[in-house]
Every structure is written in C-alpha cells, then in structure tokens.
C-alpha cells in the first residue's frame, strides 16, 4: 500500500519570538516493512541553521534554529511511503514470565524494560493487565486477548486528557486518546517484565472496502510495540482500534514514551501567548505504476 502524508504544524505567537530552537520527529523511519519513497521538510520562516541526523533510537530527527524575530512558524512535512504488513505473530510464543530474562540479555530489548521519565511504575496499570497474563500463558496469546478486549474497557474520548495526563488518571476515567492508551499499555507491560515501546505515526483515513472507519485519523496517532521473544521480536499493537498493526499504519519513530518522539518540541524566547494548529492529511496514492 502506498500512502502520501502531509503533516502541517502552525504556531502563531501573540508577540514576536526572538529566538527558537526546535527538535522535530516528523520524518518517517525506514523499516523492512516501510519503504520511504520520498520525504521533505519545510519551515517558514526559513531557519538560520538546520541539522539532521538519527536520534539514539535510530529515528530520523531534525533540529531547527531560528534567531530572527518571528510571529508565526509553520513546519510542513511531506512523505510518500510504501507499507507492507508485518510478519504474522508466530503461533507459539514463550510464556510471558520468560520474556524478562530473555530481554535482559539483549540491550536493544532491555532498554525498554525500565521506567522512563514520564512513565514511572503504576501499580494500577499492572493490575489492569494482570488478568490476561495468567501463569505460564504464552505472551502472544495474552496480548491477542488484551488487545481484542481493550475497546470494551476504555472509551476513546478527545479533550478529557492532555499530553501529560498520568496513567493513573487515564485508568480512573476509563477514557482518553490513543496516546493515553499507549502509555497505559507500555507502563503495564514493562511492570510485567515485557519490553514495551511507544510508537508514533499515522493511521489511514479511509477504511478498506467494507471495513470500519478507524479512530485517530487526521492527526498523529500512537500505538505500542511489545517484545515477545527472539523469534517474534517486536510486535506492534494498536489498543485504540483494538487491532494488531498491519498495512494501515505508517511509522514516524519510536521511543520510551511520548517525550522521546514528540513530533515538534521547542524552546522559545519571548512570544507571549501562542496558539497551534496541527493538520494531517493521509491519502492512498495511486497504485505505483509498475
């Protein structure tokens, strides 16, 4: 499947911003199942200095430095990529209790076992997951049931939470948005000894023929990847839509929590009050001609 994504972030400031530095995670990450055919990033006004590279987690990152007064800032990211479905979950996965020991021996998995700056351990999150992880149960089987049930437990409701709502609060309300659900699962899985990471990206706007319209379109989207042993590796799950990731998701990058892959972070001098407008357009491109 080929997708075309345009992500526009527009800041408007009450007073001119004298100086600004921005850290961007807006360029899709190339993956075996995701070929990035074309990607570009533009910034208005043009920055005095711009640098690009990979962050610690291997995500494409850009830094913008603006040193002229500006009253607005618009960052536009355009990308085209070809997405294929990941390998299906193996029928046999290790018992969930064995995952931690396996992960500790592999730095790339071990890193995601530990609490992260915005996701400290929360006992209620462990308790929320615990009924699925009965003794000796294969980790994949437990995850399948957990994801299938998730929408019955949690209501998608915009506006009741913010990017810094703690997981306890999400559990109390039993409602939130994709980011809250991702943070909840990441916290609970880590406490069970299962490495978990936060994935940032997009989900297709139009459902496949005959399918249901997904939640979280026209915006950034977020989901979870859990490490299920050396054979299965990282398995991506979208709790918001109660499904395992197939061909409908485009990955920007991943990290320990939202803070590692926030699409656009900035430190500004001046500016007064500000408003921000974020728009995402994601279309299926015409089928690649041969």
């Amino acid at each position: 499947m080929i997708y075309r994504v345009r992500h526009v972030t527009a800041y408007a400031y009450e007073l001119p911003v004298e100086m600004a530095t921005h850290l961007l995670h807006l360029t899709p990450r190339p993956l075996p199942r995701q070929r990035v055919l074309n990607t570009s990033l533009s910034c208005d006004p043009a920055p005095a200095r711009r640098s690009e590279g990979l962050d610690h987690f291997g995500n494409p990152t850009a830094w913008l430095y603006l040193d002229r007064p500006h009253a607005r800032l618009t960052v536009t990211a355009d990308s085209i990529m070809e997405v294929t479905a990941p390998a299906p979950l193996p029928t046999a996965t290790p018992p969930w209790e064995a995952i931690r020991g396996l992960a500790l021996a592999r730095a790339e998995a071990a890193e995601f076992l530990f609490p992260s700056p915005t996701l400290p351990p929360v006992e209620a999150a462990r308790a929320f997951l615990a009924p699925y992880f009965t003794p000796g149960r294969p980790v994949g089987e437990a995850a399948v049931e957990l994801i299938a049930d998730f929408r019955d437990h949690m209501a998608f409701r915009a506006g009741v939470t913010t990017v810094s709502t703690p997981v306890e609060e999400v559990l109390r309300r039993r409602a939130g948005v994709c980011q809250d659900f991702a943070h909840l699962l990441v916290t609970g899985l880590r406490m069970l000894g299962i490495p978990a990471r936060y994935v940032s990206g997009y989900i297709r706007t139009r459902p496949p023929p005959g399918g249901v319209r997904r939640v979280g379109v026209d915006q950034s989207h977020a989901w979870v990847a859990a490490w299920m042993g050396p054979e299965a590796g990282w398995v991506e799950m979208d709790p918001t839509n109660s499904l395992f990731v197939a061909e409908e998701h485009v990955v920007l990058g991943w990290g320990r929590d939202f803070g590692d892959v926030s699409p656009l972070l900035g430190v500004i001098l001046g500016g007064g009050r500000h408003s921000v407008c974020v728009g995402v357009d994601m279309d299926e491109a015409a089928v690649a001609a041969g």
């Binding site: 004298e18 530095t21 990017v163």
Partner: protein, 809 residues
C-alpha cells in the same frame, strides 16, 4: 570482615611507635608554646570567617548551617611512595572509566556481552541518550576520588566523582591558611606544592580553547548559581583559572556556537567547565528545566565549536554498582589488573553477591545500582536494581578536639587532571574528618604529600603564549554581573538612606518632652518613611500618638522587616558579584553587614536601634570607600557607582519633595531637616552661619555641583558614567540624565530669583516628586539597554496547553 578488625592509626603503628613520616611534624607541633595548637586553631577559624567563605546567608541546602566547616590544624600526611601508588592507581581508574564511558556511549559491547548489566545504564538519569554515537569524547578531563584506608592498611576507593568534583578550591584555600597560620609546621616538613597542578590545568584549557580565541569568555565555568552550596568554590575556581563565571541565563547558543552575553555583545565560549549535572545542560534535547540549561548546547558540541569538561554524559561513571565490575572490566578493556581496589561493592543481581549481602545486611549500605546521589534506599523490589556498599571502618588521624589531639576517622579526596599526555594527581587534597557516627563531618584537613630529597616531579613546560596586548578596558563584563552590581549600588544606598531617615525620626521620638516643633518634624519625617515603605499608613502618628510608629521602627530591622530584607538583598547581591571582588573587598562588603544585621535583630530599645542604624550608615560609607579606592574604573565600578548615584538622586528628590510639602510659614523646619538628612549641616553653617534661608539651603542640597550628597551631583555623575560605559556609551541615556540634572538646577535657580523664596520653595514639592519618578524611569531604561532583560525561555510541545489533543498526540 573489616568491621571486626581494629582501624589503622595514621600516626601510630601497631606497636605504639610514631610512624616515620609524622616525626618532623610532631617535632614542630611539640615546640609550639603551651596551648599553642588550640590557639592556632582559633586563628584558622577566624581566618576562614574573615575570608567570608562562610557566607552571610545560610545555604538553602542546609538551613541554619554555615556552608563552610572548620579546618583542623593537623594535616593528613602521605609519604611519597604511598602517594605515587595512589596516583598511579587512580590514573588507571580514570583511564578505565574513560574506556567504559566510550563503550556505553558508543558500541555498547559491554552491555551486549553482559559485562555490565542494563540496570546500571538504562534507568540511570545520567545516561544521556542524545549523546550516544553523536557527542564525541574524551569524557573525563578532571576526576576526583574518595578513599578510605581499611584495617589491612590498604587504601580503597569509596566513591568516584566526575560531575561536581567539589573540594579542589578548598584544598588550595586550606593550604594557604595552613602556611600562614602554622608556618613552623609547613617549614618542618618538605611537602609537594599544589601550584603546578592549577598551572597545568590552565594550560589544558588554553590549548582546548585554541590560540585564536584569546577572548575573555573562551573558557567559562558554568555554575548553578549563587544559591548552590558550592558557589564559593565555583567563584574561587573561576578566579584561579582566569575564566568567566557563568550561569545558564548568561549563555546562549546560536548557529552552533555557544556565547556569553556581555556588555560588549556576544562572546564565543570554546570550553565549558560544567558544574551542572549533564541531564540539565540542554532542556530541548535532554529535558529538565529551561532555567538551568541552554538549549542548543549539545548542538554546539556536535558542531565541534564547544567542548564540555567533563562530557555531559560522564555522570554515568558514578553508577553506585559499577565498582563491582571494575576488576573484570580492567582486565578486559585495559589488559591490566585493577591496581587500587574499591570499597567492597556488591551488585545484588548476582546470586552469590546477594547471598553474601543477606548473610550480613547490617555491614552494607544499599544504593540504587544506576542512580548516583540517590542516597541509601530501603530493601524492596527486584535485587537487580541494587548495589550494596560495605560500611568499612576508616583509618584514624590525629584531630584537635578541644585542647587535645584525638584519633578520628578520615576520608581522603584526591583530584586528577588529564594534561593531554596522561593523568596527573594533585599532590594534596582534602581529608574529611568523620564524626562519632562515622558521618563525614564539617571538619576538613589539609593533605600534605611529603617529597623525598630530589624527587620533585616536574610537569611539562608551560604552553608558549604570545605576548599579551596591553588592554585598558575592563574586558567582557557579563550582563548579569553588571545587573547585580547596579542593584548592589542601589540597595547599599537605599540602606544608607533608610538608616539616616530612621535615625532622624528616632532622635526626635526620644526627646522628652516633645515640643510642638518636634511633633511637626516627626510628622514630616513620617511622610518620608511612608514613601520609603519603612512604615505603613496605619503606623503614621496621629494627634500625638506615636506608639505604632515606634514599634514599626524597631520591627523594621527584625526578621521579615523592611530593613532586614534589604540587608538580605545586599548580602545576596554581594555573593552574586563575588567573582568581581577581591577577598579583602568581599570581607569588607560582608563582615560589617553581618554585625549590623545581628545588632538590628537584637535592638530592643531606641538607643540600641540608633546605634545599629549608625552601623549601617558606616557600612554604606565603607562600601563606597572600598569601591572608590580599590576598584578599577570602568566595567564593574561603573555599574556599582551608577546604581548608587541614581538611588541617591531619587532619594534626595523624594526627601525634599515630601519635606517641602508644607505651608510657606513652616519652610524653615523643612530646610533644617533637609540639611540634616543630606549630611550638609556643617557645610551650611560654615558658609552662612546660623541664618537659615530657602535659597542658600536649597542651593546646597540641590544645585551645588560640589556637594556629594546633593541632587545635581548625583545626576551629573550618572550623566558622565552613562556616557563612558565601555563598549557602548549611550548618548540617549546620558542625555536623559543631563535633562534631569538641568531640571534640578532650574528649580534651585527659581527659588533664588523668587520674590518670596519660601513660597517658591514649597511650590517645588510636586516637581521634585515627579523628578524622583523620572529617575526611576531612567533606571528602567538602563536595565533594558544593558542587562538584556529578555523573557525566560519556555518549552513548547510538552505542556498541557501547548498541543491540542484530539485524535492523538
């Protein structure tokens, strides 16, 4: 176990004989006059107090306690052979830690191979992911280690310090105090000097900064600021290394370069000596509060224009469980045996170590495996997350307690510097004496390394530096320092004005009986006191009832009172400008103020308050005198003086404005008070004897350009200072001051030419009060022009209000 064995005595061996290295010192001590050592100890205490390292304000870290401790008059002695072993062992350890950091921030093969468990790294707040594979080493430039000597006589490393590394300035201060206070002892033993180490350090910094950047800001020491417990150390280090002292707010990163904001504009920084935890250095990339770091700092490091000593990510080397792995790491990474052991450290994720700990848990302190500075923790949770560090008994060193020497446990801190070729150890350091419970206490000792005959080790020759160009300018004064000096000038003057005003009021309230004239003067003075916010509306005297006024004046110098707060502000500003003051000046700015503050707190009677106020007036004159005689003109002096002139100008205008707000019939009393408060009574009498008239009196306190307490004098001085600010005299601002000066002259002239001078004088009141306001506006404009009061940086994109959360993040 070590705790079962007797601790080693540094001075006396197991058979009760004095160890050879102590003989020279003991001989010198025994030849001191009777009770001599205790007397010298008191001299040391006083010297420390006078140097002001104790500080006036309690440090926020330990309220009620003074930051600095005592220096014990008996040093800790190390012989040359022992020191050589220690310095080689620590040099090896520094090389090892460097190799460990290079791997953890690079290929991470130690994690992949299981040589270091992930618990030490991934949950560690000092592990800075943005530095991985992107911010090149070297990681360590300076390194400090704490050592204790076990019962078997071997030194062991108890802690590694690569971030704060405090104590180096203290080692130098201790040495100079010892040399001054106990010269007999310093002569009796031959010890290695400390000076070459700091010279070598300066060379390292100069080389790192590059020859082409000889600017004053090429090397800067980043401090968390005046409230930090190590502030005095940072000030001293910056001075000894001749580098700029900067807080995060003084720095800005643009175009991949870090700059210091100075009066002259932005000056590039090439080497940053950081005393701020790495995780706080760059709020954009590392999180943390924006006030403590500089966003774009890591970008400057990546761009190669800046090097940070030590590397921002170096704090990872302080992981409490790491010593457990060093013997194996040393073999694997360096191909050597670890020369200097650590205090026994167990990582409890290892079953054998866990069993060993559980067999004797009281012999250990538990710490988080991967979080330095977190302190001891309670048992609980997964043992893989813990380290257990043995509580070892330290060796005992003779310490003065009362009049006698007693053996007390000591810990030794040594410092190492990478001089480009290899690690060299400071031949000296700081020893800390533990109290009875084994806690490292307030008492420190100098550390003397004895030099063997002819064994003096020479470092590499000094770097060849081209001859310096003659400079007359004060250099690049950071904007924050200029700001602090300006306000220091203003507040010292405000203290002086307040004290004079209160003293005048107290003198009249003290008269018994009070005559109608006294009552009228008290009423006039009360208007001035109210304007200066020294009393409130409710405390104004009403129809002879002045009890509230008396109470308010006494209360003003006590905790929470206006005068008390002012002295606190002055003390804070003195600390904030400390790197611009010599030791003597700092003492002159601090010690009398401390006494005044205490006297104000204790003053219970009008007479005692009067005496305390007199002390404040003398303090202000002292500061002015020291500044006039000891500060080079320009730069720092300009702003201190400017603050003083503007404050006094505003205060004289306000004073005259309030005193002259009387009917013309009462003008004589207003004039008398004006002369008194402007300290001009004697001058007036010399010129005009006892005849008090409006025109000559106002000429003296307003227009006379030779009266340093008069209005025009202040405004003319401000005008000249503003025209001459280095690197940017501002004609607009000096012109502004000039207009105010002419207004002052014009007012005095109008009274002189008036047919009814008394009426003309009393009519000046509103114009004088408006002049006071204009001086305030000018002061604000100076702030905007020179101190760049830009808005504080803010973080976008993570705060609740920043991003609308609809479908997602």
């Amino acid at each position: 176990m070590s705790d079962a064995a007797e601790p080693v005595d540094e001075m006396v061996d197991g058979r009760g004989h004095v160890r050879p290295r102590w003989r020279g010192l003991l001989g010198a001590l025994s030849s001191l006059p009777e009770g001599g050592l205790a007397a010298r100890a008191r001299l040391l205490d006083r010297a420390f107090e006078e140097e002001g390292s104790a500080g006036l304000l309690p440090s926020p870290a330990s309220p009620g306690q003074r930051a600095a401790g005592r220096l014990d008059p008996v040093p800790l002695l190390l012989d040359g052979t022992e020191f050589a072993e220690l310095s080689q062992g620590l040099a090896q350890r520094a090389r090892l830690l460097e190799a460990v950091l290079a791997d953890l921030y690079g290929p991470q093969s130690l994690l992949a191979g299981g040589a270091i468990p992930p618990e030490l790294v991934f949950p560690n707040p000092a592990f800075l992911r943005p530095c991985c594979n992107s911010v090149p080493g070297p990681f360590l430039h300076l390194y400090a280690a704490d050592l204790i000597r076990g019962a078997d006589g071997r030194w062991r490393v108890a802690a590694d310090s690569v971030v704060s590394m405090e104590g180096l300035a203290q080692a130098y201060a201790n040495r100079s105090h010892m040399a001054r206070t106990l010269p007999e002892c310093a002569r009796a033993v031959q010890m290695r000097p400390l000076r070459p180490f700091v010279d070598a350090w300066r060379d390292v910094l100069q080389r790192a900064a590059g020859a082409e950047y000889a600017g004053a800001a090429a090397v800067a020491l980043l401090t968390p600021g005046v409230a930090h417990p190590q502030w005095a150390e940072h000030v001293t280090l910056a001075r000894d290394l001749s580098c700029a002292l900067a807080e995060a707010g003084d720095l800005t990163a643009r175009g991949g370069v870090l700059f210091l904001k100075t009066l002259r504009g932005l000056q590039p920084v090439r080497v940053l000596l950081s005393r701020v935890p790495g995780a706080l250095l760059d709020p954009l990339e590392l999180g943390g509060r924006t006030a403590l770091g500089v966003s774009g700092l890591l970008d400057a490091v990546r761009a190669g224009s800046l090097s940070v000593h030590n590397h921002p990510g170096a704090g990872l080397a302080e992981a409490p469980a790491l010593p457990a792995f060093l013997p194996v790491l040393c073999r694997d990474l360096l191909g050597e045996e670890l020369a200097l052991p650590s205090v026994e450290t167990l990582w409890l994720g290892d079953p054998a170590s866990l069993a060993r700990y559980e067999a004797a848990p009281t012999g250990y302190v538990l710490r988080r495996a991967g979080e330095a500075g977190a302190g001891a923790v309670e048992a609980g949770g997964d043992p893989r997350g813990w380290a257990a560090v043995a509580r070892g008994a330290a060796s005992l060193a003779p310490t003065l307690v009362g009049e006698h020497l007693e053996p007390r446990p000591v810990a030794l801190r040594l410092f190492l510097l990478h001089d480009g070729a290899g690690w060299r150890c400071l031949p000296g350091g700081v020893a800390r004496v533990a109290d009875a419970e084994g806690r490292s206490g307030e008492i420190s000792k100098d550390v003397w390394v004895l030099s063997e005959e002819g064994a003096e080790i020479r470092g590499p020759g000094a770097l060849q530096v081209p001859a310096l160009a003659i400079r007359r300018a004060a250099g690049d004064l950071p904007s924050r320092v200029a700001d602090n000096l300006f306000w220091l000038g203003r507040y010292v003057e405000r203290l002086d004005d307040s004290a004079r005003l209160m003293r005048a009021a107290m003198a009249r309230l003290d008269r018994a009986p009070m005559l109608p004239r006294d009552l009228a003067e008290v009423a006039a003075l009360s208007r001035c006191l109210l304007d200066a916010k020294l009393i409130t509306e409710e405390e104004l005297p009403t129809s002879g009832d002045d009890a509230a006024l008396r109470r308010a004046l006494l209360q003003s110098g006590r905790g929470g009172g206006r005068l008390h707060r002012l002295t606190g502000e002055v003390a804070r500003l003195v600390e904030g400008t400390r790197d611009r003051l010599t030791g003597d000046m700092h003492a002159a700015f601090t010690l009398p103020l401390r006494d005044c503050r205490a006297a104000l707190m204790e003053a219970a009677t009008p007479a005692a308050l009067g005496a305390a106020l007199g002390g404040l007036v003398r303090y202000a004159s002292g500061v002015a005198g020291v500044a006039a005689e000891n500060m080079v003109r320009g730069g720092a002096h300009t702003f201190l003086d400017l603050g003083r002139r503007l404050e006094r100008g505003a205060s004289v205008a306000a004073l005259l404005g309030h005193l002259l707000a009387e009917p013309p019939a009462r003008v004589e009393s207003a004039l008398a008070l004006s002369l008194e408060l402007c300290d001009s009574v004697i001058t007036y009498r010399t010129r005009y004897l006892h005849l008090l008239q409006p025109a000559p009196a106002l000429d003296l306190v307003m227009a006379d350009p030779a009266n340093p307490r008069g209005l025009v004098f202040q405004l003319a001085a401000a005008e000249a200072l503003l025209a001459g600010v280095e690197g940017g005299g501002d004609p607009t601002l000096s012109g502004w001051a000039g207009r105010l000066r002419r207004e002052g002259e014009a007012m005095a002239a109008e009274v002189a030419e008036a047919s009814d001078p008394a009426l003309a004088a009393t009519r000046l009141s509103p114009r004088l009060l408006s002049l006071e306001n204009s001086v305030g506006t000018l002061s604000d404009a100076i702030g905007r022009r020179y101190f760049t009061l830009v808005a504080a940086p803010r973080l976008l994109g993570v705060d609740t209000a920043e991003v609308p959360v609809r479908g997602a993040a």
